[in-house]
C-alpha cells in the first residue's frame, strides 16, 4: 500500500527542492512555483488519504525499516513509523506547508529570488515531514538539524537587511545550544541502551535498563533540545527576532515546522519523561512559566508580528505545561489546533502588512474593519480561536490541557494556565482593536490582496472553526485511533470550562474597555503603571541580560585571546622572522666588497678556531 510507505511523504518536497535548486537559474519563476506546489500537493494528498484511513479504517499503524549503515557491528536502520501522533503531524505539516506555499504566490510576488524561496520552503517541509515519521533518534537528530538549517536560511532570506542577518544568526546559534543538549542525550541513550531505535529504547525504559538518575538526565537534556527549538523560557529570544523573515516563513515556523518540532519531540519521547517525576515537573514549570511570561510581554509589544511571536512562545509554553502534567494527547491536540489558528493569524497579519504597504507598527494602523472584510474576518476567527471562545478550535484544546492540569492536582499551575488564558485574550483583542477598529490613522489606499492569499486564509479559517470538533468528546469511537495517546478519562468539569471561558471573556472585555470604549485610557494606564509597563515592554531585559552575561563576557575572552594571539603568538612568529632577517642582513653587510672586511671576518674566524683549539694551553 503506497500510502503507508512512510518515506513517500518527505520524498516529493525533496524532489521539488532538488529540481528547484539545481535549475534555479534556468527555470521560469511560474514553473518553479508550480513544481514546488506539486511536490507538497502530492504529499498532502497522501496525508489526507492516510488521515482518512487513520480515522475510519484504523489500519495504518505500521513501521518500515531499511538498513542504513552499521557502526561496530551494530546495524543502523532507516526507520519510519506511522503511529497516531505521526499521522496527525504529517497532516498538519503538509496542510500548513501547502497553504503557506499557495499564500506565498501572492505575498512574494515580484521577488527576484522566489525560486530559491520555494526551494527552501520545500526543503523545510521535507525535513519536517522526515522528522515526524522518524523512528530512530539519529534520524530524528538529522532531520532536526535540517529543520534548524532551513529556518536559518528562511529567516535570513532577505539577507541584505542587517536585522534579518542578525536574526538568522541568532536563531541558529540559540537553537544550537538546545541541540547540544539533545545530542548529548542521544549519546547517553546509545551508551546505556546500545540502540537509537525508539521502540528498543522504550522497551529499555519499561524493563528498567534505563532508569533513575540517568533517565532524568536524559529526559531533561532532551527537553533542553526542545526548549531551544520551541522557544521556551531561557532560549526564547530567537523566536521574536525571527520575525525579520518573510511573513509566510513566520507562519510556517510558528505553526507547523520549527517550533512544533520541539513539542513533537517531547511528545514522541514521552515515555522517557514518564519515568521521571523530576523531568516532568521541570517540563511543566518551565512551560507554565514561559506561557505566562511570554503572554505578559505580548501585552505591550507594538509590532504586529512580534505580538504574534510572543503569543506563539506563550502557547508553546502552554503545550509544554500540558506535557509536563502528563497529557501528551491534550498537548498534541493543542499543537494541531494552534497550527491552524496561528498559521491563520500569521497569514492574515502578513496580508495586513501587504495591504498597508509593509507597515508593521500597530500604533499606526486602525480602521481596517470597514476596508477589507477579507482581512478582518479571518483575523477575528483566529483571535477568537486562540482566546478559547467556544466553539472555535482553541477552546477544545485549551480545555483539555486545563483539565489535565486540574487532574494532576497542581493548583499553582492551574492558576498560571487561567491567567495565561486571560492575558492571551487581552493581548489578542488589543491587537485586533488597534488594527481593525478605530479610525484609520493614515488615509493611504489599502492594497488589494491577491486571490491565492484569500484561498489560504479561507481554508485555515474553516479549520480553525471546525478543527476542535474532530476530538469533541462525543465524536465516534473511530476518532480514538488518532487521539488514543494517553486519552484522558472523562470530561472537564463544567466549572473549569466556565472559568476558562470566563477568563477569556474578561480579557476581551478589558481590551474592549481600554481600546474601544475609552480610547486613549490605555496610554494613561501605561503611564500610571509605568514600571510594570517598562518591564513588559523591554521583555524583562532578557536580551540585554544575555548580551551582558554571555556576549560581553565572551567578547572579553575573545579580546584577551586576540591580544594573546596578536602579541604573544604573533610576537614569537615576528621574532623568528626578524631573527632570520637580521642574520641575512648581517650576512649581506659582510659582503660589502671590501677586502679589509673579508680579512677581518677571516681573522675573527681564525681567532675562534685558534682560541678554542689552544684554550687549555692559553690558560694553563
Amino acid at each position: 500500500m503506497m500510502f503507508t510507505w512512510a518515506w513517500v511523504y518527505p520524498l516529493f518536497p525533496l524532489i521539488a527542492f532538488v529540481l528547484l535548486i539545481a535549475l534555479r537559474d534556468v527555470m521560469k519563476k511560474k514553473l518553479a512555483v508550480i513544481v514546488s506546489l506539486i511536490g507538497i500537493g502530492v504529499s498532502f494528498g497522501f496525508a489526507v488519504y492516510l488521515t482518512w484511513m487513520g480515522i475510519f479504517q484504523q489500519s495504518v499503524i505500521q513501521t518500515t525499516k531499511y538498513q542504513w549503515f552499521s557502526i561496530a557491528g551494530k546495524p543502523l536502520y532507516l526507520d519510519f513509523m506511522l503511529e497516531p501522533l505521526n499521522i496527525v503531524m504529517i497532516f498538519l505539516v503538509s496542510l500548513v506547508s501547502l497553504l503557506v506555499q499557495i499564500y506565498s504566490m501572492g505575498y512574494m510576488k515580484g521577488d527576484a529570488r522566489i525560486t530559491t524561496f520555494y526551494a527552501y520552503l520545500s526543503l523545510f517541509t521535507s525535513s519536517m515531514l522526515g522528522l515526524v515519521i522518524s523512528a530512530n533518534l539519529l534520524q530524528i537528530y538529522f532531520f532536526w538539524e535540517l529543520v534548524g538549517l532551513c529556518s536559518f536560511l528562511l529567516v535570513g532570506f532577505w539577507y541584505f537587511k542587517p536585522e534579518a542577518k542578525e536574526a538568522a544568526k541568532k536563531a541558529f546559534i540559540i537553537t544550537r545550544i538546545g541541540d547540544i543538549g539533545l545530542l548529548i542525550a542521544i549519546f547517553m541513550i546509545f551508551q546505556k541502551v546500545g540502540s537509537f531505535d525508539l521502540r528498543v529504547i522504550q522497551h529499555a525504559v519499561d524493563s528498567g535498563v534505563l532508569t533513575g538518575g540517568a533517565l532524568t538526565t536524559v529526559a531533561i537534556l532532551i527537553f533542553v533540545g526542545a526548549v531551544g527549538k520551541s522557544g521556551q523560557f531561557p532560549l526564547h529570544t530567537w523566536l521574536p527576532d525571527a520575525m525579520e523573515g518573510p511573513t509566510p516563513v513566520s507562519a510556517l515556523i510558528h505553526a507547523a515546522t520549527m517550533v512544533a518540532a520541539g513539542v513533537y519531540l517531547v511528545g514522541n519521547l514521552f515515555f522517557l519523561f514518564e519515568g521521571s517525576e523530576v523531568a516532568l515537573t521541570t517540563v511543566a514549570y518551565i512551560g507554565g512559566f514561559t506561557a505566562l511570561f511570554a503572554a505578559t510581554i505580548a501585552v505591550t509589544q507594538n509590532d504586529i508580528k512580534r505580538v504574534l511571536a510572543y503569543s506563539t512562545v506563550s502557547q508553546l509554553g502552554f503545550m509544554m505545561l500540558g506535557m509536563g502534567v502528563g497529557s501528551v494527547y491534550a498537548s498534541s491536540f493543542h499543537l494541531l489546533m494552534h497550527g491552524f489558528f496561528k498559521a491563520l493569524l500569521f497569514l492574515a497579519a502578513g496580508a495586513v502588512i501587504v495591504a498597508l504597504h509593509h507597515e508593521q507598527d500597530i500604533r499606526k494602523m486602525g480602521g481596517l474593519w470597514k476596508q477589507s472584510k477579507w482581512l478582518s474576518i479571518p483575523f477575528l476567527i483566529g483571535c477568537l480561536s486562540i482566546s478559547g471562545i467556544p466553539p472555535f478550535s482553541g477552546f477544545f484544546s485549551k480545555d483539555e490541557i486545563l483539565y489535565a492540569i486540574q487532574l494532576s492536582g497542581k493548583k499553582d499551575l492551574l492558576a498560571i494556565g487561567l491567567l495565561t488564558t486571560f492575558f492571551t485574550a487581552f493581548y489578542m483583542f488589543r491587537l485586533f482593536y488597534l488594527v481593525f477598529a478605530k479610525k484609520s490613522r493614515g488615509d493611504q489606499k489599502v492594497h488589494s490582496i491577491s486571490r491565492s492569499m484569500k484561498v489560504s486564509l479561507a481554508v485555515l479559517a474553516v479549520f480553525s472553526i471546525v478543527g476542535g470538533f474532530f476530538s469533541f468528546p462525543t465524536t465516534s469511537a473511530n476518532a480514538e485511533t488518532i487521539t488514543q495517546i494517553t486519552k484522558l478519562q472523562g470530561h472537564a468539569p463544567l466549572w473549569l470550562i466556565g472559568s476558562a471561558v470566563g477568563a477569556s471573556l474578561l480579557g476581551i472585555l478589558l481590551a474592549t474597555f481600554l481600546y474601544v470604549w475609552r480610547q486613549g485610557s490605555a496610554d494613561g494606564l501605561a503611564k500610571r503603571l509605568s514600571w510594570l509597563y517598562q518591564v513588559s515592554y523591554r521583555k524583562y531585559w532578557i536580551d540585554e541580560l544575555y548580551q551582558m552575561m554571555f556576549v560581553s563576557s565572551l567578547k572579553a575572552v575573545a579580546w584577551f585571546l586576540n591580544g594573546f594571539d596578536r602579541f604573544v603568538v604573533g610576537g614569537i612568529v615576528r621574532f623568528v622572522g626578524w631573527g632570520t632577517m637580521s642574520i641575512g642582513r648581517l650576512g649581506s653587510m659582510m659582503q660589502n666588497g671590501q677586502i679589509q672586511t673579508y680579512v677581518l671576518v677571516s681573522l675573527i674566524a681564525f681567532l675562534i678556531l685558534f682560541v678554542s683549539l689552544a684554550f687549555g694551553r692559553l690558560i694553563g
Binding site: 679589509q596 672586511t597 677581518l600 681573522l603 675573527i604 681567532l607 685558534f610 682560541v611 689552544a614 694551553r617 692559553l618 694553563g620
Partner: protein, 168 residues
Amino acid sequence: MEITGEFIAFFILSVLAICGAVFMIFFTNVVHMGVSMAFTFLSIAGIYFLLNADFLAVIQIMVYTGAISILMLFGIMMTRHKETEEKLNRPIHYWLSIAGAGVLLVSLVLLSRGATFVSDSVDTKGYGIAKIGELFFGTYMIPFELASILLLVALIGSIIMAKKEGQE
C-alpha cells in the same frame, strides 16, 4: 735576569722597531709612515745581527730598508691623491679590528710564554755565509732556482701590469 750587552741591544732595537711600527699606525702623513717603516726594517736588521744571522741582516738592510722602502715611497708619490691619510669611516670595523688584533696578540704571547724551549744558548760558529751557500746550492738547489724563476715572473708581470694599456 742579568743585564748583558745582548739584552741592552735587544731592548733598544726592539723599542725602535715597535716605535717605528706604532708611529706608522698613528702618523697621518703618508710619507712619514713610509719613513718610520724604514726605521722598523732597519731595527729588525739589528735583531738579525743579535741572532747571529749576519747575511740575512745585510740582505734585510739592502732589500727592505733600501729597495722596498724606496719602492713604496715611489708608489706613494705616484698614486698620491691626498696628502694625508684619513681614518676609516666604519667605527665598528675599526674597533673590531683592534679588538681582534689584541686577542691575537694576547694569545700569541701567552702561548710563547707557556711553551718550553730546550736550548737557550747554542754553538753558532758554523753560522756563516759559506754554510748558507752550501745549503742553497746543495739541499735547497731546486727551491733556489724556483725562487729565481719567481723573481723573473714577478719582474715581467709587474712591467706588463704597470704599463699603460693600449701601448702594445
